[in-house]
Subunit: 454 residues, 2 copies
């Protein structure tokens, strides 16, 4: 029997700087536009929502940005996170491929999300902010911001998509244990929420609606700011500690990936593992195939349009050019709640346009097949989101077997599935299905994209 | 703000040997007796249930027992586990005490239990065993043996206390994800189970009943053995990696505990952190106060008798001298399911008799108060069992404040509470109560202890 091999860095190897892919790109992404004027927005347009330090990171083109020491001190609780060689999985697949995975489930909130939650809470605290609003779907992001708020003494108010609020009471209890307040969205606490409820009293909610509610609250109060768990440049930036550590750990293993894989909903987990490798390649390093994996039921990268769109349903956000299914698109119910977003991070969308990454989509049953197979070999039960990356890694390893190619595959295991056991139970009970979105609804959502002259 | 400080050992410091407290005791514990003859049992009496390698560990008086390399290879996935200095907790308590905690929640099953599950599965595999039966209450042990079974390719059959089976479907799904089979106990699969159900068709089950069922199945089949997650000497032995690592980590911190704290149900978590420190003291090292913390609703160490008793309800096990509430004692419902056992490990009971440890009992609401306070400072949500240790550590730290004493406190945080969020929800909803056992029922259970001439 082969065993898992762990590559652990000591704390002196905790990254001192975040890596900004913007600095190494051959061309910048298109500007973000004001929805009224259709002119590029400036930092001041974002000031009602974010502290200026985060806004400056959002627009920065510096290659490296110092991680404040208080943030590194908190990262140290679980970072550097381990990187494993999946020897038992390789053995079970009888593949010549070498499979590695970076494991972000070791954070106290159980996923990669605290990497940015802690940073965002720090900058807000520094700016004197006493309350942060946000939205959460699956709950990974809400849990992480709740954790960060408890550390920095900031009040956290979370608009939780109604259907998750009802279906995932344990995720809610977890956030409340950290002292956060969860509100089912759509709610009566915002005018947008009241508007949605007036039109549709039984609305199950959506991430787009919850974002609108959280933004509305933050925009209306001086002591309150808003935080987003993915999509934005500064969020992706904070996640690059993952890939930077992975590069050092692959070096420890005396290896380097041919293929890097991450699941992608808003894009932050994918960016975290992938951007440092793509940057190294752009600066003349070894070429890597980078694969973004998304759910077939919400396939922005593989079936969306690269177009200007709103980030939310209430159209309170600026317009960003990104792969989008349209801000009115509501994906069918599937269990990887963290991947149920209509758009894709503008920076991830841009490098897809530049041909720097591939994308593929999987249905959920095949992902659970892969996740359970992985759990039985490697002993870790992945979150449903992470199962998409597991599935792609296994598919690539099987291809290696068929072609007799001893490739090196690295994927990010973004979180554990401890709060997702209902999904596994449904899988075992044969209750899962591979629902597709309605093609006509997608066409309508795309037809409704805002018109922006080229 | 002060931050958590992590003391991490690299893999070269993973213990090579388990530590056997038996070697350093001034007197051996009383012998285990055959329930029919009342004569001391020998290794052969246990052979139907356990592989001989584990039986020899059960009776060993060697100070150190080599950890097989395949077991160490699996330990490496999460060991050495981190030891933290709880600076944020100290700060919040305004205490001069230094508080450290060893964190076992980093294991793939989320608690200390895999330390012995992996070892037991290894020895069973080596002995050609193809199936292991066991019982589980809260599910920490069942999850860990399920994990170990998946690694070694052994079929795992888990008798899960009926009330937990019904109330904790997610814990069950977790075990099934690793490929184990869970059976609600009492079941129709054993003659003892059928007997219980005939007398009490709605029986909620108990650990004592589930043990009897698992033992019955193993005793009846050559290819099947039984595994226990606590109480027995060899189980406690396997947990001593915790305390050995903690000694090395306290050394890294340039500190040494004045007080060592562990929660205790069957005794394995407590032994894991405490025995190496007690052994060092017995060999002439620094004296430490060692505190075992148990639930006030199931207080074997503080309210039980030190007497010979059965380990199970069906009276299929040998008789061991231990602190016991009587094998027919059924504790009231409380959330720390891992601490709901009528007896206490004979070795832990023996050192209590020798005056080497203190014991105290807490009701559950005070423990949840402590656990939530801890989570908001340190970012980790503890299992309800571990909250007992957290509560004692906080109480000791508050005493230090009152007395102006800068003591060093170390406790074991045996697991995370990710599968126990219903308990936290009940706590937040004000639905928890501090139920006590019925004094008359305890008296009856104690009156029913088997009669063993001195």
């Amino acid at each position: 029997m082969s065993d898992a091999v762990k590559y652990l860095l000591d704390e002196t190897h905790l990254p001192k700087r975040w890596y900004n892919l913007m600095a190494d790109l051959p061309s910048p992404p298109p500007p973000v536009l004001h929805p009224g004027t259709l002119k590029p927005i400036g930092p001041d347009d974002l000031a009602p929502l974010f502290p200026m330090s985060l806004i400056m990171q959002e627009v920065s083109t510096e290659r490296e940005i110092d991680i404040p020491e208080p943030v590194r001190n908190i990262y140290r609780q679980w970072r550097p996170s381990p990187l494993f060689r999946a020897r038992r999985l390789e053995h079970a697949l009888q593949t010549p491929a070498r499979i590695y995975y970076k494991y972000e489930g070791v954070s106290p909130a159980g996923s990669h999300k605290p990497n940015t939650a802690v940073a965002q809470a720090f900058y807000n605290k520094e700016a004197g902010v006493t309350r942060i609003t946000t939205e959460t779907g699956a709950g990974q992001w809400g849990s992480s911001l709740a954790l960060a708020g408890s550390i920095f003494g900031i009040e956290i108010q979370i608009f939780m998509v109604r259907i998750s609020y009802d279906q995932k009471p344990y995720r809610r209890a977890f956030m409340e244990t950290f002292g956060a307040r969860c509100i089912a969205s759509p709610s009566m606490e915002t005018s947008f929420g009241r508007q949605v409820l007036a039109a549709s009293p039984q609305s199950p909610g959506s991430l787009g609606i919850a974002i609108s509610e959280a933004v509305e609250v933050a925009a209306g109060r001086d002591d309150t700011k808003y935080a987003l768990g993915s999509v934005l440049n500064h969020v992706l930036l904070h996640q690059t500690v993952i890939g930077q550590e992975a590069i050092a750990q692959m070096d420890l293993a005396n290896d380097y990936p041919d293929i890097v894989i991450g699941c992608t909903g808003g894009g932050s987990n994918f960016a975290g593992i992938a951007f440092p490798f793509i940057g190294a390649q752009l600066r003349g390093g070894k070429k890597v195939r980078v694969i973004a994996v998304e759910p077939a039921a919400c396939p922005s990268l593989t079936r969306g349009q690269y177009a200007y769109d709103f980030g939310d349903t209430g159209h309170m956000t600026p317009l960003a050019r990104m792969y989008t299914l349209g801000s009115t698109f509501i994906p069918p119910g599937f269990h990887a709640g963290g991947l149920r977003y209509h758009g894709m991070a503008p920076l991830v969308s841009h490098i897809k346009e530049l041909g720097l990454i591939e994308a593929r989509a999987y249905h959920q049953i095949a992902c659970f097949d892969a996740g359970v197979f992985f759990a039985r070999q490697e002993g870790i039960v992945p979150a449903p989101e992470a199962n998409h990356a597991v599935k792609a890694a296994i598919d690539e390893a099987v291809l290696c077997k068929e072609h007799g190619a001893a490739k090196t595959i690295l994927f990010n295991l973004s979180g554990h599935g401890h709060f997702d056991m209902q999904a596994y139970q449904d899988y075992f009970d044969g209750k899962l299905s591979d629902q597709s979105y309605d093609e006509r609804e997608l066409a309508m959502a795309l037809a409704g994209l805002p018109s922006v002259p080229a």
